[in-house]
Amino acid sequence: MISRLANPAQFMRVSGAVLPFLAGLAAVVLAVGLVWALVLAPPDYQQGESVRIMFIHVPAAWMALSVYLLMAVASAVALVWRHPLADVAAQAAAPIGAAFTFVCLATGSLWGRPMWGTWWVWDARLTSVLVLFFLYLGYIALVNAFDDASRGARAGALLAVVGVINLPIIKFSVDWWNTLHQPASVFRLGGPTIYISMLLPLLAMALGFALLFAALWLVRMRTALNERKLRALRLHRMAEPRSRPADAAPPGARPAVH
């Protein structure tokens, strides 16, 4: 299936067909999840209504990690197999992953203040997630730092792959070292320690975030492929006698990835 989508034209066809359904499904699941999280879910026996922040914070954290893993795998594929869409996939995912990481950090801080008594601590969990955020930003900056797009892509891919070592550190930080952040409540041996009436809205929000990511990822990849085609067409037009130099892009440069 991956090789069938390797062809950019094929990818555009398939993604174009899938995207409306993905976006629609994401909207529905998020709407249901939000109502569930904000209204229907019960308060916590010790954290009260502040536990509702969990329904944003935890799914955002899961996405922050998963998207980085995706980015790292795509980067490895780009480095080893030189798959044409691998760089596009990694670069399209990065800003979305950075956004989830920011939401995780900000909502975590808002949750920590009333529950722990502080906005921030430099314990292993919080610090390693902050490092993840910097890795995302560093990746985006690195890719855009080079005039030559392929060199930027290569440098970014290397950073993404090297940074993957941070993922097990984040996950196991609460087990390996004494931290303020509590241990895992869902992905742990022995099963979740969240009561079902709170676990279900959590999973709903997680699904909504995943669908949102998938939709935005496709949108950003389609944009990247469109922009590549635009550059190629403009270059082609420059070579023609009737070209209008005013709106032709200089060779090699490309718009910054936001």
């Binding site: 944003i56 914070h57 808002l110 203040r113 950003r220 389609r222 469109n226 635009l230």
Partner: protein, 58 residues
């Protein structure tokens, strides 16, 4: 009714933490979504324009 809503929005005293948390999530994720979509639409329009210009004139 108004009292019920007040009680709900108070979030057990944690309103000043809960509502900004949700607001930040909506603003940041919504922002990425909007920016992604705008840029996509711009790329589609630009591509259509260039492809029209490249079409052989009748």
């Amino acid at each position: 009714m108004a009292a019920l809503l007040d009680h709900y929005f108070a979030m057990g005293g944690y309103a000043v933490y809960v509502w900004p948390a949700y607001a930040i999530a909506v603003a940041v994720l919504g922002g990425v979504a909007v920016q992604s979509w705008w840029r996509y639409r711009a790329s589609v329009r630009a591509l259509e324009r260039v492809q029209r210009q490249l079409e052989p004139k009748p």
